[in-house]
């Protein structure tokens, strides 16, 4: 059930990420928009406007950074794959060269032995 489990894990992670983002957003916007001196229980107009703007900016920022991060990680992954491929090719070439050398050495020694017989 690997794909199901993977999906479930992804969903759980997503929920946890959303909850964490909500908590951080609440703390940040509360710190920025609501000064610590409370004169009345209700949010004033200025504070309400500030909170709307804060939430909009936070979500926009979150989305942009997420997109940039996935872009960079895809680039990084592609670079890693390319590097691995290049190094493997180099290794094969090296191996091939060594094999050729060994084969040449074997042939030389074999002819030498045969010629002395």
């Amino acid at each position: 059930m690997d794909p199901m489990k993977a999906q479930q894990l992804a969903a759980e992670l997503e929920v946890e990420m959303m909850a964490d983002m909500y908590n951080r957003m609440t703390n940040a916007c509360h710190r920025k928009c609501v000064p610590p001196h409370y004169k009345e229980a209700e949010l004033s107009k200025g504070e309400a406007v500030c909170l709307d703007r804060c939430v909009a900016k936070y979500l926009d920022l979150h989305e942009r950074l997420g997109r940039k991060l996935t872009e960079l990680s895809v680039q990084d992954e592609e670079a890693t794959v390319y590097e691995a491929k290049v190094s493997l090719e180099a290794r094969y070439k090296f191996l091939g060269f060594n094999l050729l050398n060994d084969f040449a050495a074997f042939v030389t020694i074999a002819t030498f032995i045969v010629s002395t017989l």
Partner: protein, 148 residues
């Protein structure tokens, strides 16, 4: 998500609350309140500062009730209109400035007092406008200091 469980607000309730928080509604309330207050003030001062029914030929004649009432009504209406306009302007500008700044402190009242006083005084020239701005801003600042 993180909040305590509370009953969900209906769409209508949200709409009503949003309307009640809007700048237009606040300035309407201030306009009506100013009208009532100005009317009361005008009627009151008409009783104190009466110069009605003054007949140059007979300065000691007592004015008739109709004349007194008409004077009270006129003064009351005049004061009411002035107060309504001033109140609506002040409230509207204060709400707009507060929405623009995103903060809720005493400076909003001072700025909007300057704008209102300036607008009223500007009709009589630039100097009167500046004076009106300063005066009304100072008055607003005093009221805000008292309220906070």
């Amino acid at each position: 998500m993180g909040a305590l469980p509370s009953p969900q607000k209906t769409e209508e309730q949200k709409m009503i609350e949003r309307g009640m928080e809007s700048c237009a509604f606040k300035s309407l309330i201030a306009c009506v309140g100013g009208f009532v207050l100005g009317g009361a003030f005008g009627v009151f001062t008409a009783g104190i500062d009466s110069n009605v029914g003054l007949d140059p030929k007979d300065p000691l004649r007592t004015p008739t009730a109709r004349e007194v009432l008409r004077d009270m009504g006129q003064r009351g209406m005049s004061y009411a209109k002035n107060f309504a306009i001033v109140g609506a302007m002040f409230s509207c500008t204060e709400c707009l400035i507060e929405s623009h700044r995103g903060k809720s402190d005493w400076k909003n009242a001072v700025y909007s007092g300057c704008v209102t006083g300036g607008a009223i005084g500007f009709r009589a020239g630039l100097k009167a406008g500046v004076l009106g701005c300063g005066g009304f801003a100072a008055f607003s600042a005093a009221i805000e200091y008292y309220l906070r």
